[in-house]
């Protein structure tokens, strides 16, 4: 430990309880759980320019190059700065166990401990389907259940598909830099099994200048592809957005959309669907968001992908038994959410009238991926639960939660009809501060909307019509509706009613840089100005609701699901998938045992 005796450093050391305040930073960070045989970049950052002769880096007492099988590059002046780093790309450790890594530059020392874990000799699951409801919190779950299932005698008449699972756990979502994650490092935890920091995908957050130079860790896409499996990612966000990008990307900054398109291409992922087409178009094409003239639509075509830009094309491609690779791009931005797509026809539905919803994307993906006899990994995201929670639009977030449930229901039916050898995991990447607090009843007397809010027994039951076959009520602006509230918000007008003309835009930045309520909603009858409880100016100013640090629920069914229980780290979900698919290389003894079976 190289803690200098000044109060700041002492406080920092006390705060992090670990060796991370030493002169060197070692990546992967301490307490990393590493899948045996998975690739990772090994990096030691020294706090000054070091003398190569003085540098000593060991793993379990041996020179690191022996443990990792190759030598690293010692970068004398990283990014031209007066600091040295040791960097070894694509390292891996095949033998499970505890590994103590020590680094010294002759002056200071740092130590971290990693756990390398193996997986069972035989895989129990042929396929894995990972559902991520982005921002999907308990409030959304309860609200979706109320709209999709009736109550008789105080009991729900049926379970949601996401609830009707034998195994459940609470996942904590904090990262390496903060108790709050964003969708990048949250999804990264699932797809790599490593923790990282806000905005990062497939990397640890180091001091590298370029967003693309940070120490990488291997994704489940890469691991599964190495074993001959098929991999897919389908979403209703832009395909480059954080959650789907976590399947393939390695960048410190999730907004590197053009780089992420290349990473999708390089990953050879078999199926990818969502919105976000402009980053695939060469800059000479009107509507492009690329900065170069690479035509990724054409590159994917050349790599034998079928391209679909409408639901009709997607269905045709998926039904063609020869299709094994499919790129579906259905919108320039996000694919419209369920409420707009199916009922209100707002958002961009007029512009893109033939978009699939998430369950339809998933069904097409299952057809294509299941043509690979080695099995598949499919990530299915209902992305706009989160986006509509950021925009404080309760009804749209609830309808997209119902859409997630509808997809899960279909996946369970598919798994049952296809060999019962698919592990299905349903979770969120992070939560929002959302709660069902009662109902709003327009028939209450007076004009003040707050006095129409029913709590406790006055809440009663809302009067949405009975849900359709997919679980959606076909009318959302009913007279007695759910009151789903957001606990963390910027200044906005609370209208106490659904936004029938399009997604809520609660907050605008004014000329002084202050986030203020969008005056557009001031004239809505009964609208009340809510003074925000989030920062409204400067770098921290927020124009939307924010993620919360609450745990998220993971439910699971299928082979390997029994490992889901109690309270777990989000990174444990990766391990559950890796174990179910036996993704680690087989140890000698284990391989023999496998052969005997």
């Amino acid at each position: 430990m190289a803690c200098k005796p000044n109060s700041f450093v002492v406080a920092l050391c006390a705060a992090v309880f670990s060796a991370t305040c030493a002169a060197q930073t070692i990546f992967p960070l301490t307490r990393a759980d590493i899948l045996a045989g998975s690739k990772f970049d090994f990096k030691v950052e020294f706090d000054g320019v070091v003398d190569a002769a003085q540098v000593k880096v060991t793993i379990n007492g041996q020179d690191y190059s022996k443990a990792l099988g190759k030598s690293a590059e010692l970068i004398a002046r990283e990014d031209g700065k007066e600091v040295s780093s040791l960097l070894l790309r694509d390292a891996s450790i095949s033998k499970p166990g505890q590994y103590v890594v020590a680094a010294s530059d002759g002056k200071g020392n740092a130590t971290v401990t990693w756990t390398v874990y193996a997986t069972p000799a035989k895989r129990v699951a042929k396929n894995v389907i990972l559902f991520i409801g982005d921002g999907f919190s308990i409030g959304h779950r309860t609200a979706a259940r109320i709209l999709s299932r009736s109550v008789e005698g105080g009991k729900y008449t049926g379970k949601l598909a996401v609830d009707d699972m034998p195994y459940m756990a609470l996942l904590s979502t904090q990262g390496t830099d903060s108790i709050i994650t964003d969708s990048a490092n949250a999804a990264h935890a699932y797809t790599t099994g490593h923790k990282s920091c806000v905005n990062a995908l497939g990397v640890y957050c180091s001091r590298a200048t370029s967003t693309l130079d940070h120490p990488k860790v291997e994704t489940i896409t890469s691991l599964a592809k190495r074993r001959g499996m098929a991999v897919g990612a389908v979403t209703n966000s832009e395909i480059e957005d954080a959650t789907p990008a976590a399947m393939v990307a390695h960048t410190r900054r999730r907004s590197d959309y053009n780089d992420i398109v290349k990473m999708f291409y390089d990953s050879k992922i078999d199926v990818m669907m969502g919105g976000g087409s402009p980053n695939f178009l060469p800059k000479s094409t009107p509507g492009s968001k690329r900065a170069d003239d690479v035509d990724y639509i054409d590159r994917f075509k050349q790599a034998d992908y079928k391209i679909a830009i409408t639901k009709t094309e997607m269905l045709a491609a998926a039904n063609d038994v020869k299709t094994t690779k499919l790129l579906g791009l259905y919108n320039t931005g996000n694919v419209d959410g369920a409420l707009d797509l199916k009922f209100l026809k707002k958002g961009s539905v007029a512009k893109f009238p033939d978009q699939p919803d998430v369950p339809e994307e998933m069904a097409a993906a299952l057809k294509v991926l299941s043509r690979n006899k080695n099995g598949f990994v499919l990530m299915v995201e209902s992305a706009r639960i989160d986006k509509y929670s950021h925009s404080l639009d309760p009804e749209r977030s609830i309808y997209d939660t119902i859409m997630l449930d509808s997809a899960v229901k279909q996946a369970k039916e598919w798994a049952k009809a296809n060999g019962n050898n698919t592990l299905i995991l349903v979770t969120a990447d992070h939560s929002h501060a959302v709660s069902v607090v009662g109902t709003v009843n327009d028939d209450e007397p007076g004009v003040e909307m707050r006095n129409k809010v029913g709590t406790y027994e006055q809440a009663g039951f809302p009067n949405y019509p009975a849900p359709d076959a997919e679980g959606y009520p076909n009318k959302v602006d009913v007279s007695r509706r759910l009151r789903l509230v957001f606990g963390a918000y910027p200044d906005h007008y609370d209208t106490f009613r659904p936004f029938m003309d399009g997604e809520f835009v609660p907050t605008i930045r004014n000329a002084d840089g202050v986030m203020v309520a969008n005056e557009k909603y001031k004239s809505v009858p009964g609208a009340v100005l809510r003074e925000g409880n989030l920062p409204n100016k400067g770098a921290r100013g927020s124009n939307s609701g924010v993620h919360s640090g609450d745990d998220v629920i993971l439910t699971a069914v299928g082979p390997g699901a029994e490992k889901v229980h109690g309270q777990m780290e989000n990174t444990d979900l990766f391990r559950i998938m890796a174990e179910a698919l036996a993704l680690a290389p087989q140890q000698h003894g284990a391989a023999k045992a496998d052969k005997k079976q």
Partner: protein, 158 residues
Amino acid sequence: MSLIGLRSGGCLRRTFFLSALLLGMSAGQAADKISLDTLLSFDSLYKSVGVLGTQYSERAKLLNGKEVRMRGYMAPPLKPESKFFVLTREPVAVCPFCSSDAQWPSDIVVIYLGSALGPLNFSQRIEVAGKLEMGSWTDPETGFVSQVRIVNAEVRKL
């Protein structure tokens, strides 16, 4: 460098001061002299907005290189001292350069100012008058790639 790929660090969350003068009245009077058929809406700019690219309308093509007016909202700028800003159909609350998960809408128009502009509220609907330019162009100073521009522009509040 691209619309969303700039690596030039964080956004300066300051007011968009280019200089002291707000064009309010004078630009308004000037706009009255421009005939109505030069008013181009976001909808009439494109024949189609498709997944595989947008197609400009015949009218927009006819107006290319000519004086036009467009109405929309000023997006929070890349830098307070920028010579250009982004005009959007609807208000954009955050600067997509600053927010890691924000993206520009795909139908933005980039406005290069002909003269000084005072502080503007980003929720204030504005009208921009200037010469229409279409086609991919990379700003040499910032690397910002734009598809549709109004150059030598003047701005007035609506």
